[in-house]
């Protein structure tokens, strides 16, 4: 299991002080020009890192330098930079999203590193996530899983009054916990089998815990699992690496729940859906 810092360990409780000196880092970054090109690590010395920078800002500054030097900047995905869109993600020293627990790459800050550190940066690696360039991968395979059944079939305009169906608060809260998944793919990147089972289980749990999700509960689960396998994700063998890196702390208990639903689906409909 990768070791993670907790938020408390690594923050100060004093007011903001401004006397931080720049850190110097050595970065080993995976560079790959295109999907079929060979990739390799390239080493960069970064002289000018402030502890208040985010990890991506640290790379931004490096990229500005690279551009002015006439090199191509490092390609990496990002958008919201608030830890919610799920666009960012890289392996940082072998850990998906880096050393900070429950934190997406864009929310990781440089105060968690020390002057003189060497940091290795790689893309997500999984059969179902082919590399596009440098740290950018394709993750459409996750969308395919949702398209295979990760929804409730209700047409616009056909909805009953919202408060007609009460949902016990514990169920609603549990459903919300699963629904927090940002579809980043870190769970896949961390899994030795490159399985997307935590992601899939989160979707199944989110919908399957609500009364609205009951009519399609078993079919949804079976269809999503079939698509998961078809997309080239590996099988889940309960290693637990996924839970450790998940920026939204999705619990591996959802995988157990998913497995129970799969068994029940087979019992109730042995011929399959």
């Amino acid at each position: 299991m990768p070791s993670h810092n907790t938020l408390e360990e690594s923050t100060r409780s004093t007011a903001h002080d401004d006397d931080s000196r720049p850190m110097q880092l050595t970065l080993n970054v995976w560079r790959q020009a295109g999907p079929t090109e060979p990739g390799r690590f390239v080493t960069y010395q970064h002289q000018n890192v402030s502890e208040h920078m985010s990890f991506l800002e640290m790379l931004d500054v490096l990229n500005e330098d690279l551009i002015l030097r006439g090199d191509e900047p490092i390609a990496y995905d990002h958008d919201c930079r608030e830890g919610i869109c799920g666009m960012c993600g890289m392996m940082i020293n072998g850990i998906a999203h880096g050393p900070q627990r429950a934190t997406a790459t864009c929310q990781l800050h440089m105060r968690h590193f020390k002057d003189g550190d060497t940091i290795t940066i790689e893309p997500w690696r999984a059969r179902a996530f082919p590399i596009v360039k440098d740290l950018v991968v394709r993750r459409g395979s996750l969308d395919r899983i949702v398209e295979a059944g990760g929804y409730i079939s209700v047409n616009t305009g056909a909805a009953p009054e919202a408060n007609n169906i009460p949902v016990p608060k514990p169920n609603a809260d549990r459903s919300f916990e699963a629904a927090q998944c940002i579809q980043c793919g870190a769970c896949v990147a961390a899994c030795p089998n490159a399985s997307a089972m935590l992601f899939l289980a989160a979707k199944a749990g989110h919908l399957g815990l609500l009364p609205q999700g009951q009519p399609e509960r078993y079919r949804r689960t079976v269809d999503m699992v079939a698509e998961h396998d078809k997309q080239g994700f590996g099988a889940c063998t309960n290693m637990g690496e996924c839970e450790a890196v998940c920026p939204k702390e999705i619990s591996i208990d959802f995988i157990a729940r998913l497995n129970r639903d799969l068994i029940r689906a087979k019992l109730t409909n042995p011929s399959g859906y």
Binding site: E147, V154, P166, A172, Q183, L207
Partner: protein
Amino acid sequence: MAIDSTTVAPPRIAPTMPRTRPFTEAPPDTLDSKIPEGPIDRKWELRQFEYKLVNPANKRRFKIIVVGSGLAGGAAAAALAELGFNVDCFCYQDSPRRAHSIAAQGGINAAKNYRNDGDSVFRLFYDTVKGGDFRAREANVYRLAELSTNIIDQCVAQGVPFAREYGGLLDTRSFGGAQVSRTFYARGQTGQQLLVGVYQSMCRQIGHGRIRMNPRTEMLDVVVADGRARGIVTRDMLTGEIRSHVGDVVVMATGGYSNVFYLSTNAKGCNVTATWRAHKRGAFFGNPCYTQIHPTCIPVSGDYQSKLTLMSESLRNDGRVWVPKTRGDKRSPAEIPESERDYFLERRYPSYGNLAPRDIASRAAKAVCDEELGVGPGGLGVYLDFSDAMRRLGVASIRERYGNLFDMYQRITGENPYEVPMRIYPAVHYTMGGLWVDYNLESTIPGLFVGGEANFSDHGANRLGASALMQGLADGYFVLPASVTDYLGRTKLDAVDENHPAFMDVEREAEHRVRRLLEIDGRRTVDSFHRELGKLMWDYCGMARNRAGLEHALSQIPAIREEFWRNVKVPGSAGDLNQSAEQANRVADYLEFAELMVTDALHREESCGGHFREESQSEDGEALRDDERFAYVAAWQYNGDGVPILHKEPLTFDNVHLATRSYK
């Protein structure tokens, strides 16, 4: 290049510039807003009855292009596909579920009146018109309030896990200056939960083959063939391929343009490209100067800052905003006694206090920082202090309410807000301006419909909290499906394909432009230009604006633009993933758009909502509207190399009495 948009005070500009009008004015009555006849509460019903329908068997013969997969675009794509149309949907992220709507935290308004606290459709309508400082169209706002209740029903049926009470029914809270509790929420993640609902509906239609989703595909232009919007030209962000997409109608829901300021709370990829290119092809731009500054954001920490982070304004329900009473007070906040603190919102706005609307709270914070009373690096921050609330309610209940926000703050600043007060500062957050649309959400280009933040919309000069999500979904789920169907039902469309000269021309232009950007090979990065523009806009067209500053900005923008096209360095090639080229293309458009935004701000010689003109304020610093001269929507027409042309859509208020906003 290290230009930091918010830590350096702008130099004062002496008002010596010549007073020329950088625009011309069209004769009156050029705009038809197509507001239905009838009383306000029947207009939408009557309009829906007037709408033409399309025979179910014919629907699959039409192709609808939807640009954007946020709440507005995604909902429209799903709803139109459910009706049986073929939809081609586009977004620049790698999955439609990542559209910037995902980042909304606080909540979504709806006039359900579940609390029995006196809410109603009319009250939501009234609050929104008043909150927008009487610069929105009454009929649109009423429809929005009416549809708000259907949205909640729809979302719950899709499985959106809204917060609930112990009895199992939906919970609500009061938000952003509303005196009723009408905001539905999903912890601090309302946007993500609503967007996942939209995304799932889209996925269902993608699975059924009725939506063809094109992620990582950036719209570069809209194509107008024979007087109608008939498609778009895009760049495949993975391969660089530029190509045309032909359809029968185009819906754009491409979000807002806050990133014209470089630093904002918007995602890095948010752009004005789609709307600006449409503008250049004939769509009028409405009220570009109306931008919203959000009071509770994390202050800038250094010149590498790449974006700003919002913290939900729900924090103001329990946090108290203050600064030290004396300049240069360097003591830590805990050492400053009560008597030496200025709770300036409570002092200036006794009845609303810390819950004063966004524009007012933001300006008040700027005012104390201008007096050099601000806290933190550069003095650009004020305290948001929870110690009273923690004493009163206990730390546990504060953790329950705001735990995730406190964690986020701690993650970014390295400070523990349970022990030291947060520091906050206003940041650009939302743009009320956008493409002008009529009541049917159709722009001035026939067949080009615009929804969500991309249109000039229903929020007037200031948007109330929790109203953008509502508007995006109202447009997407309910208005666009009806009005787009009507357009297809009543319009005779000629056969057009990719070989139509209009498509060929636009494609060529787009290719040429990308090539040119790559060929300049100058000495400055794209970001350095973006920062320079952003700083200029923030200093002179930001929270407070005046004639001299705006004229200064207007004189500077062309110079930055000129240097950009001469001296920008865009590495790499056009034929693969090239994030510098993507960004260069967006910044080039911001450099043009900024000029229109400043022109609009300059022409509007009044203060209203998010637009504050220093010349137009009362003795105690409150905004002064000028209803005599400015009760209109400013819709700008592109005029090539000439100055833009101003069209005015007069606003009339028959149901809400035009009055001065007061939150004292």
